[in-house]
């Protein structure tokens, strides 16, 4: 998610939210994944990383069910490194 997010950065998220395009969200795959919503419909979301050339995201694993969204990022607490 470079350059938007950095390794070690502390973020604040909110679990209950209405998904919308552009949001940075945490989704559950085999681990908690943080990406940006680029498309969504009533049932699924399409997630992509901001670091387009190095991101493994919906371009590879496809759309995710909306129920796999866990949280939306609402603030960055620290800058990371």
């Amino acid at each position: 998610m470079l350059p938007t997010l950095h390794h070690g950065q502390i973020l604040l998220g909110r679990r209950w939210f209405r998904p919308s395009v552009g949001q940075i969200v945490v989704a559950w795959t085999d681990q908690p994944l943080i990406k940006r919503i680029t498309k969504l419909d009533r049932e699924q979301v399409w997630l992509e990383g901001d670091n387009v050339s190095a991101s493994t995201d919906s371009r590879y694993f496809g759309a995710l069910p909306r129920r796999q969204l866990e949280a939306v990022i609402i603030a960055r607490i620290t800058r990371g490194r």
Partner: protein, 144 residues
């Protein structure tokens, strides 16, 4: 809901944290393959020739692996859209690496270099500021 804790680590899930990909790796190995084949052809020393064969095979295998990493990890669907020849080019390049591994013919190494250069040229078009010409010139400076 699966997030187990109030504070939890999340992952951007890149293959590498801001992965470093560079066709220079494949190009250097391809040059080594060429040099080994050329030195083999120029040598009358049977021990040297044996070593040249072995080293050439090692470097050709490395060239193949570097090509695979670029193909599978770096290039993305949008690159293939822009350069529809990409998959075929990588297929031919890895085949050329295999051929250069098996053969002592300098022409096999030249074919490999040519295809790696073609990939390098495309890579440069996908990465603003990347100078593949410099990579190629540096490798050629060391040609046997």
């Amino acid at each position: 809901m699966k997030l187990p804790k109030l504070i939890t680590t999340v992952y951007a899930h890149c293959d590498l944290m801001c992965g470093v990909y560079d066709p220079a790796q494949a190009r250097i190995e391809a040059q080594s393959v060429y040099n080994a084949a050329k030195k083999y052809a120029d040598s009358k020393d049977p021990v040297f020739k044996q070593r040249a064969v072995q080293i050439k095979e090692e470097r050709a295998q490395l060239a193949k692996e570097h090509l695979w990493v670029l193909w599978t990890d770096y290039f993305k669907p949008e690159h293939v859209e822009k350069f529809p020849q990409l998959h075929d080019l990588f297929w031919r390049a890895t085949k050329a690496a295999g051929e250069a591994k098996k053969s002592m013919e300098v022409t096999a190494a030249e074919d490999l270099i040519k295809l790696v250069d073609e990939i390098g040229g495309i890579f440069a078009q996908t990465k603003p500021g990347y100078d593949y010409d410099a990579v190629r010139k540096n490798a050629e400076l060391q040609a046997a």
